[in-house]
């Protein structure tokens, strides 16, 4: 039994967020991988772009940051130079500039340091499950998947638990800025340009800016200068310091990107448990925990794409990409590439090797939080599998309306406690 079968007709409009409301249009990506792996994708709301859909092609291009730059925007939407400068984070820079920011926080997110959170995460998981499992039937995205990364965010950036739901709502409004369930200012239906200099072109960005400033003032008054946020403020090896705008943008990135991605990984894993019943038994038996987190994260692929811009002309698959052209890496497609993954629509918790690209592997922008994400996913499923005897869907699940953020936003389930 496969977990989920795509229903698109193989010719979905990849620029339309509506084409993703029933999940990723995988039949379209399968066709492109087979017939047109460097596809010129027409885009009515901006400049058209190249869609790269094969895993090996993305891997090969991703490491060539000098050829394919992040410094003109990383989503399909076009940005003016002014918008780019106002909204950019280190995601939107190239090496070596990118490294100046990464090295300040790399240690805090390293595998060894993150491993120290294990007891705390396990404790949080059990608190979350205590409450959720009591309900019997519930929305697993809301009650489980949303909760764990949100509470970890509180620990990592050092904010009071009572602020977290507000912060996460604002982060959602940024990441899912094309879904009316998460924002009143739906990006592709917006009639104002009042927020175009705010992160993700969203008024929530302005609110997060204000929160970040107040938070840092409060921390300074309390003499609390230890956390990740303060690491960012330290001068780099060349003495350079991050600008105020860049700091606040990084704060928005932590709140948004560090949160939804882990949430939707957990949600996708729970959805898989519901539809592929042997998975729960395999989790209970153990022996798959070295490989299971990456397989769940492959299955989820929360970041559906990132965009680059060509810095010079190059040839690929008999076509010429021109300097200035937008090139989109569709990780969602790469992670179902049948030439790389046996039975890609099946969740195989023991899959090894697992050359998925959910973290942007193979390039300088590899996910800063990947070790934390893997750890949270592993512990959550270890505890969930231990505590339940059965789990099944209690209604249809619904996906975020977005061609950028892939996630199951509502996931009704019924569980039987063990």
């Amino acid at each position: 039994m496969t977990v989920w079968t795509p229903t698109d007709d193989g010719h979905a409009d990849l620029t339309s967020h509506d084409a993703f409301v029933d999940g990723v249009p995988h039949n379209t990506f399968a066709r492109l991988r087979r017939d047109d792996p460097l596809h010129y994708t027409e885009y009515s709301a901006g400049r058209s772009f190249w869609s790269v859909t094969r895993q090996a092609d993305i891997l090969r291009l991703n490491r060539q940051a000098d050829l394919l730059s992040s410094a003109q925007g990383i989503r399909i939407e076009d940005q003016t130079e002014e918008e780019y400068l106002a909204r950019r984070t280190f995601q939107e820079t190239d090496p070596p500039e990118h490294m100046m920011t990464r090295i300040k926080v790399a240690r805090a997110f390293s595998k060894g340091v993150v491993a120290g959170f294990e007891p705390q995460i396990r404790d949080l998981c059990n608190q979350i499950l205590d409450r959720a499992l009591d309900c019997g039937s519930f929305d697993a995205t809301r009650e489980i998947a949303r909760e764990l990364p949100m509470r970890m965010l509180g620990i990592i950036i050092g904010v009071p638990a009572s602020d977290l739901p507000w912060l996460v709502d604002k982060g959602d409004a940024l990441m899912a800025n094309t879904d009316p369930d998460f924002t009143d200012h739906v990006l592709d239906r917006m009639t104002t340009d009042a927020y175009r200099l705010m992160p993700f072109n969203s008024p929530a960005g302005a609110e997060l800016y204000d929160y970040a400033s107040a938070l840092m003032a409060r921390k300074a008054a309390a003499g609390d200068t230890d956390g990740v946020l303060h690491m960012l403020l330290r001068p780099g090896p060349d003495g350079s310091v991050i600008s105020d705008t860049e700091f606040r943008n990084f704060f928005c990135l932590l709140v948004a990107a560090g949160n939804d991605t882990t949430r939707y990984s957990i949600a996708a894993g729970i959805q898989a448990l519901c539809h592929q019943p042997e998975l729960l038994g395999q989790m209970k038996a153990g022996g798959i925990w070295e490989t299971a987190p990456d397989e769940i994260i492959r299955w989820a692929t929360p970041a559906l794409h990132f965009r680059r811009t060509a810095t010079r002309d190059f040839q690929m698959h008999g076509k010429t990409v021109r300097a200035g052209d937008k090139v989109v890496y569709w990780f969602a497609s790469a992670n179902r590439d049948e030439t790389v993954f046996d039975d890609p629509f099946r969740v195989d918790l023991a899959r090894q090797p697992n050359a998925h690209l959910s973290f942007g592997q193979g390039g300088p922008h590899i996910c800063l939080g990947m070790w934390l994400a893997r750890l949270e996913v592993r512990i959550l499923f270890q505890e969930l599998a231990r505590r339940i005897a059965a789990i099944e869907p209690a209604g249809p699940h619904r996906f975020v309306r977005s061609n950028f953020m892939g996630g199951i936003k509502t996931l009704p389930v019924t569980v039987k406690a063990a």
């Binding site: 891997l59 991703n62 490491r63 940051a65 090496p95 070596p96 990118h98 490294m99 990464r102 090295i103 790399a106 240690r107 997110f109 390293s110 595998k111 060894g112 340091v113 090896p237 973290f359 592997q361 193979g362 390039g363 300088p364 922008h365 590899i366 990947m370």
Partner: protein
């Protein structure tokens, strides 16, 4: 040209490596455990950490500022001759090089 990796369990693995290839690429191609190179050699993940046999360290080239900083983000704490193997290119000078792969 040959490189030898000394694995965490004490066993050794040797492989022929073409000049110009990075030692991370060589390790991944030869399935050396604990050397992953998840960022593809972009100096962004610190998953290709090795400890160079001190006798060889002078021949492996200079340690850059970013590499130095990323060596603080390795899974196993750095040693005096730690390097990120994506930053070392194979050359005739390194024929016979021995690298310790850290970790348990």
């Amino acid at each position: 040209m040959q490189v030898t990796w000394i694995l965490p369990d004490g066993t050794t693995r040797s492989a022929e490596v073409q000049p110009g290839r990075t030692l991370m690429e060589a390790a991944v191609a030869n399935g050396i455990p604990n050397v992953h190179g998840e960022c593809g050699g972009s100096l962004s993940c610190a998953t290709c950490h090795v400890v160079v046999d001190p006798e060889w360290i002078d021949r492996t080239g200079p340690l850059g500022d970013f590499e130095d900083a990323m060596l603080d983000a390795t899974e196993t704490a750095r040693a005096p001759t730690s390097r990120l193997s994506c930053q070392i290119e194979m050359s005739a000078d390194l024929d016979g090089l021995r690298l310790v792969v850290p970790g348990g």
